[in-house]
């Protein structure tokens, strides 16, 4: 028996390898560096790895290869754009994660135990969150570039497992946090099973696990269509779960609410980019020729997701849950870009992902600022009159909400406009009508929050706004500037995306 050594093009894999290396060093730092130095070292290491990874990605942005890792990984324009978006979002999310107020002192301690109290008093900090973040980010980078079903599944688990853990690290309301982590894990495992099941059916259909093999089998025809259809359906369930599309969305409000807010920000923004990135590749390249079977169903899911996300968001009294439902609605908007199945849809979805991701991180960053003595205040009633107490927090939050609502002069408008016009071009008129309708419903509750913050009087309950730390402030300002810049002058980025976003097969 002879073994051939795998041929790897390290240059194209290096954005991921750099992050994995950084994560492994981070684990060692946990073990060997003194407690006092750890936060600073970890933060520097994490930001440094992400930055280095991004620089490497920038260098190779024009490359194209189907054989970056023996056919398991593909690298092309969309890959570069999606990976770049994930890295940018991760970079500003890490700023938030560095704010120690949000994380438990000792993750392993039982809530309310003596052990936990002791850890709190001794000023311990959880710094494991940094390597976990890096592992998750590298999984996210792999997800949209995976080129066979096994790699796709590995990437899915690689990004999910650290997120399950991170969701349980909240400093306050630890029980709720741990509950959400467990829910996320159980439901994630459940949907992963569907995903694997679907992968098995697709293998049964095409006797291949590689994307190109499956596509050839679809194009060639003659296979057993039942296997193909069940395969597509189950694989889609796994992916739709990750993006929080109805009816696979139930985890997201609970997890968004329970998880520490910086983790929610990271999860909401970066996971969406990664999961939609993978969906784009799969539906645009692998399943494109089986379009007749899945577009009607996916359109139905998109419509239900948009409407349900927008409607239920109105009834929310908690700002994090409201943002969770808003993110469900946005998953629906993004699905209309996947359904479009044309070049314009691809460009628009990539632009939307970056614009939405950055506004999301910004919005959750503002949520971390509004506090009272027992931690973050997420009850919307207590956000009354925030505009008077903290113009900075209220104004920036209003800006992000306007971007979510798709008001002109914000990135959200350009995103919604281009994604809906792409869907319309492709003939998905029902989806566009539902999209515009639910945008109108969504605008109702976004603007209600703005009215609440600026035009109602505050209740005297001691809700205060923390003077933002320099890192949190940086996150908010960067996100706000990008949100406005992409709304006012989006042409350069749109052109960049148009030039680069071409899938290779």
């Amino acid at each position: 028996m002879t073994f051939t050594a795998p041929v790897l093009s390290y240059a194209l894999l290096s954005p991921m390898l750099i992050l994995l290396g950084g994560a492994l060093i981070g684990v060692l730092v946990e073990a060997f560096v003194s407690k006092a130095l750890r936060p600073a070292v970890q933060l520097t290491l994490t930001l440094g790895s992400i930055l280095l990874s991004f620089m490497q990605l920038w260098r190779i942005r024009g490359e194209q290869s189907l054989t970056a890792a023996m056919g398991s990984v593909v690298f092309d324009g969309p890959a570069a754009l999606l990976q770049g978006s994930i890295l940018i979002i991760a970079f500003i999310s890490v700023f938030l994660i560095a704010d120690t107020e949000n994380f438990t002192a000792l993750a392993a301690a039982l809530p309310g135990s003596d052990e936990e109290r002791h850890a709190l008093q001794s000023g311990n900090q959880v710094t494991e969150v940094y390597p976990l973040t890096l592992f998750a980010v590298s999984g996210m980078l792999l997800f949209p570039v995976a080129n066979d079903l096994i790699t796709l599944f590995v990437a899915l688990e690689m990004l999910s497992l650290p997120l399950y853990l991170m969701a349980g690290l909240s400093r306050r309301r630890r029980l709720a946090s741990q509950e959400s982590a467990l829910k996320y894990f159980l439901l994630g495992a459940f949907s992963s099973a569907f995903f694997l099941f679907g992968a098995a059916y697709l293998y049964g259909f095409s006797s291949s696990i590689s994307f190109s093999g499956i596509r050839e089998a679809i194009v060639g025809g003659g296979g057993n269509d039942v296997l193909l259809l069940i395969g597509i359906a189950f694989l889609s369930i796994g992916l739709l779960f990750k993006v929080g599309a109805v009816p696979f969305h139930a985890w997201s409000p609970d997890v968004y609410q329970g998880a520490p807010t910086p983790v929610t920000a990271f999860m909401a923004a970066a996971t969406k980019v990664a999961a939609f990135g993978a969906m784009l590749r799969i539906y645009y390249t692998v399943f494109a020729n089986a379009q007749w079977s899945w577009t009607p169903v996916l359109s139905g899911i998109a419509i239900v997701t948009m409407l349900l996300g927008s409607l239920v968001a109105i009834a929310q009294r908690d700002v994090k849950r409201m943002l969770a439902y808003s993110s469900i609605a946005h998953a629906g908007f993004l699905l209309s870009g996947v359904i479009a199945l044309n070049k314009a849809g691809l460009d628009a979805t990539i632009f939307y992902l970056l614009a939405y991701g950055i506004a999301t991180v910004g919005a959750f960053a503002v949520v971390t600022l509004v506090r009272d003595s027992s931690g973050e205040v997420t009850d919307l009633n207590r956000w009354r009159g925030l505009g008077k107490r903290s113009p900075f927090a209220a104004t920036t939050f209003a800006l992000f909400l306007l971007a979510f609502a798709g008001i002109p002069m914000t990135s959200g408008f350009i995103g919604k406009f281009s994604i809906f016009s792409a869907a319309y071009e492709s003939g998905a008129k029902g989806v566009v009508i539902a999209g515009v309708l639910s945008s109108a419903i969504a605008a109702f509750f976004y603007i209600r929050v703005i009215v609440l913050m600026f035009f109602t009087d505050a209740t005297e309950d001691g809700t205060s706004v923390e003077i933002p730390s320099i890192l949190t402030r940086a996150t908010v300002i960067i996100a706000a500037v990008i949100t406005v810049a992409l709304g006012v002058y989006p042409a350069p980025l749109l052109n960049f995306i148009t030039d680069l976003a071409i899938f290779i097969r």
């Binding site: 439901l187 459940f190 369930i237 009816p247 409607l311």
Partner: protein
């Protein structure tokens, strides 16, 4: 076409001044006005340099363009932010920055006692930048940005003394009436895009040949509405008189020399539209002729010196619009009259400001009289402007206005005779009301209020007046010598054959001078021989009464637009409350209701969530099954 990278400085310099002064706040109080003046002057320097460069090139290569950035790229709608400096826009650039700088200098002294002088200069710079953008934009959309910018600057400057409610109301009136015109411009842009798919000047010019005449007529009429709003032409003229509430340098700069001429610019710039749409072109002529008479008649009855000058501006712009409506033969003369008018009218407004400065801000001419001896320089400069506007040879107006009268006569047929007579009579009335202004202000007996101590203004004020007076004397001769301006602008406008001459130029001049002489004589008989009443007499003819009320323009607006508008708004508000808001509230309540109901699914139990996923999975497979079957 030549490209350049320095055009943007024309706009950037004054814009930077506005930004510095507004953001710098009180810290810039001491030197802000000097900076603003300097920046305006440097912008003039850039313009002059561009002119010299242009002169060195052959006619085809004179236009200079600069692409700033890709502005809007949506689908097949592409607009770049770009600048275009050609033979037409350079005239405007030099007028705006030249007269603008002189008025900056004048304002240093005029506004020296105002605590908000810095803010005033910031707005002036903002205006200069916006006006330059208006004339330099290379597409209708870029022009539109400047168009709105000057509207804003004008609003801010008219209402500069907004502590007086009447002034704030005046600025609001100007703003609202301008909106009507702006709506015309936006419709014109929409028509251009819908029928030709482009909004750039070069693009529209290319497509104009093979676009339906109906579309071009529609676009032309909309452009005319826009021009009427900005240039105070019939029927959107009512705001100009009230705009005189602003400080006098503003009236000179914005409401005499530059902004109000934007309509003339728009029409000459859109020559390719109007040349292909004769109906719209005819409407332009009619609007010009009506406004010409309208303004002249109002001018005869105004006792407020600034309002008399404003009516005169309206009338003179009527001349320009009329000329522009005469097609290729008229464009160059419209621009020539615009330039000479820029000199003499700005000069006279500054003169009026100088008089007001010496007379405790009194504007009623019935309380002036005999100021000639006390303000000799003001009298001299104002007098030269007066001779220029009358069209007495060899002053500037003689060259520009006579050309317009001549062209009007040569328009051919009945149209030519009517237009010729209107312009001739207009010239006579102009002579009458301007002579009236001179007599009431500078000659006769003192009718001052007791606390008035008239004195000549400081040199910072009379120097700009003197320079403008030199322009009023010489500009007409210089611009028409060897047809200099006509030849300069010739490459831009379609070629035209020689028209038959109805009247020889010498006859036209003779007729015009006769009309002017009659006008002067009537004014002398009426005002110089009799004592001027201190208060406007009440027992006057019904025509005077109507003219005093601006020919009922406000009543007209109220009856035709305002009351029906108010009724319409009231109905709309009622409908909105009952139907639209009702629906919205209904949807909101329905949405909240269904939202609350749907929230029930979210019960927090992981087993329910898993069940939901399972149900969803089954539904998904079933749906695919249904679709495939």
């Amino acid at each position: 076409m030549t490209t350049s990278t320095s055009l943007v400085y024309l706009i950037a310099l004054p814009l930077a001044g506005a930004a510095l002064l507004l953001l710098g706040g009180r810290r810039t109080d001491k030197w802000g006005h000097l900076l603003a003046t300097g920046l305006s002057a440097s912008s003039f320097g850039v313009g002059a340099y561009q002119l010299l460069q242009m002169l060195g090139r052959s006619a085809e290569e004179r236009p200079v363009s600069q692409k700033l950035f890709e502005w809007i790229h949506v689908g097949n709608f592409n607009v770049d932010a770009g600048l275009l400096l050609d033979q037409l826009s350079i005239c405007f650039v030099l007028l705006i920055t030249g007269v603008g700088t002189l008025i900056h200098i004048y304002s240093i002294s005029y506004m020296s006692h105002d605590p908000d002088r810095r803010r005033f200069f910031a707005f002036l710079n903002l205006f200069i930048a916006a006006m330059l953008l208006l004339v330099l934009g290379d597409s209708y959309l870029n022009l539109y940005v400047g168009w709105e910018g000057v509207g804003l600057a004008s609003y801010l400057l008219i209402g500069f003394w907004n502590q007086k409610p009447a002034y704030a109301t005046a600025s609001k009136k100007a703003f609202v009436m301008n909106r009507v015109g702006d709506m015309g411009l936006s419709f014109a842009i929409m028509i251009a895009f819908a029928t030709m798919g482009t909004v750039s000047f070069t693009g529209v010019a290319e497509h104009a040949h093979h676009t339906s005449e109906a579309a071009l007529t529609g676009m032309g009429i909309m452009l005319l509405v826009a021009a009427a709003g900005k240039s105070a032409q019939f029927p959107l003229q009512a705001w100009l008189g009230d705009a005189m509430a602003g400080p006098t340098p503003v009236s000179a700069l914005i409401h005499a020399a530059t902004m109000v001429t934007a309509g003339v610019y728009l029409i000459t710039r859109s020559n390719f539209v109007f040349d292909a749409a004769p109906t719209a072109q005819l409407l332009v002529v009619i609007v010009g002729a009506i406004t010409l008479m309208f303004g002249a008649l109002i001018g005869t009855a105004k006792d407020d010196i600034k309002k008399a000058l404003a009516a005169s501006t309206m009338s003179q712009i009527g001349y320009m619009i009329l000329a522009a409506g005469l097609g290729p033969v008229g464009y160059a003369f419209a621009i020539m009259h615009l330039l000479t008018h820029g000199f003499f009218k700005a000069g006279m407004f500054l003169g009026a400001g100088s008089v007001m400065h010496g007379m405790n801000d009194e504007v009623n001419m019935r309380k002036y009289g005999a100021l000639r001896k006390f303000m000799p320089i003001t009298f001299a400069t104002f007098g030269l402007g007066y001779l220029a506007i009358l069209g007495v040879p060899p002053f500037a107006g003689f060259y520009s206005k006579d050309m317009i009268i001549e062209t009007a006569f040569n328009a051919g047929g009945v149209k030519g005779i009517i237009l010729g007579c209107v312009t001739l009579i207009g010239a006579g009335i102009t002579a009458f009301y301007m002579t009236r202004v001179i007599i009431l202000t500078f000659t006769g007996t003192k009718r001052w209020d007791e606390d008035a101590h008239p004195h000549e203004s400081p040199w910072l004020m009379w120097l700009p007046m003197a320079i403008l007076a030199i322009g009023s004397v010489t500009s007409g001769f210089l611009l028409s010598r060897g047809d200099a301006l006509v030849n300069w602008l010739h490459p831009l406008f379609a070629h035209h054959g020689e028209h038959e001459e109805l009247l020889k130029p010498i006859v036209v001049s003779g007729l015009a001078l006769t009309m002017v002489a009659i006008g002067i004589a009537v004014a002398f008989l009426k005002y110089s021989r009799n004592e001027v009443a201190h208060v406007a007499p009440e027992n006057v003819s019904v025509f005077t009464k109507i003219a005093r009320q601006d020919l009922m323009q406000d009543r007209f607006n109220e009856a035709i637009f305002m009351r029906p508008g108010q009724a319409l708004t009231a109905t709309l508000v009622a409908t909105d409350n009952a139907v639209i808001d009702g629906t919205v509230r209904g949807i909101g309540q329905m949405a909240m209701g269904s939202g609350s109901a749907l929230r029930g699914i979210q019960n927090g139990f992981v087993r329910s969530y898993a069940a939901l996923i399972l149900v969803g999975a089954v539904a998904l497979v079933a749906a695919i099954w249904v679709v495939v079957q």
